[in-house]
Symmetry: C2
Subunit: 259 residues, 2 copies
Amino acid sequence: MQKDRPVILITNDDGINAPGIRALVESVRELGQIIVVAPDSPQSGMGHAITIGDPLRLDKVEVFEGVDSWQCSGTPADCVKLARDKILHRKPDLCLSGINHGANHSINVIYSGTMSAAMEAAIEGVPSIGFSLLDFKYDADFNVAKTIAFELATRMLAKPMPEHILLNVNVPRLQAAEFKGMKICRQAYSKWAEEFDHRIDPRGKDYYWMTGKFINMDELPGTDVDALKEGYASIVPIKIDFTDYKMKEWMESEWKDFV
Amino acid sequence: MQKDRPVILITNDDGINAPGIRALVESVRELGQIIVVAPDSPQSGMGHAITIGDPLRLDKVEVFEGVDSWQCSGTPADCVKLARDKILHRKPDLCLSGINHGANHSINVIYSGTMSAAMEAAIEGVPSIGFSLLDFKYDADFNVAKTIAFELATRMLAKPMPEHILLNVNVPRLQAAEFKGMKICRQAYSKWAEEFDHRIDPRGKDYYWMTGKFINMDELPGTDVDALKEGYASIVPIKIDFTDYKMKEWMESEWKDFV
């Protein structure tokens, strides 16, 4: 480790060979000493899974020129844990996850491996950001997202922030000329309406593919979904305390006979 | 479906053959029509993982006498999604997950498959509870936890509750005589200090086992960890909106030049 430069840990959930993580490394490499620890294969939809019943592999690889990089057989959350304990032997100064190929706005934060890595870092007290671009294509244009990553990382390294900060950043699929700027938002209330595609395998046994339609059920202003629709990048600060304090109050008054 | 009885969906993350799910089925079976859809193998530490790149299997099984039961090859969140779309063809009236073998208090809510199933139901607007007993043993005594499950399920079925209610219930390892009662709590701020046990496999390659020590860093009163230590069962209401509104305000004032 070089003592004078901030240490920036980069990970993702699309795997170390995805174009999105390369874009992220390129966007911030001049801001500090970059360390990449990322899954060796795509991990989308892994939520906050961790690997407790299987051994983990961690191998040094040459993927990004001049950047120390490791690929890991585990989940994004595993990568952050392993990076701290086995590679850095200290907390990084910043953790960046992504750039994810596809949206992680609204309820998707719960299912997202990209966000689980950022959340794992925040639990440790490391400021962290998960980045997603609303474009699933392998050859998506990451230019706007790269500019945002550079600006946010610069800002978070320059000035101490409240502890356990964790940002969920989503970037619309727009060219720089059409891009409107950034907006601080709240998480939209939404869900996936799943439909399972039922099929029969060659041995006559049933199986199902999960498919789904995204439904935004949030009519009130200020959501990430709205900001993205309007051409802004959304920034949602995320908590690691999931307690519903309003509900807690309601229960304390309604359930008095009981607790 | 019998029209006059509430439909109670039961799932877990320890797998359909775990004693904990049997205890849960027994505790509430007189309260409604029970449907069990649970993983065919243990899924601990799966967080809110969903299965999007692999086909899912769903097979009717005879595990609980007189209760329609299915085992699924997917995660706890997959089970809830499949139950609604392919078995019930409607929302259940209540979803119960567990009883987990081991604690899911404090930060563990993030890593817990048990809680992810309950959260998946809450996203759908189904009142749900995740139950965990602070005892990893296969032959753990579920009696206190069963009484709590019965009482909470009865209460939630009897009176309409605010939407998207989701409770994280943890039960101490105590006999009924020592058990102090229930407490509504907030999630303790805590973390896992991981240490990876480094080994060399027979082919000379490195591998790691994740091990960890739980650290409670929360000194303030009212947490689930405290209640459990004092001999109470903890009930934490959980939100599905992860927005940090305090941080949002802070950013809106501090980052005025930027967003």
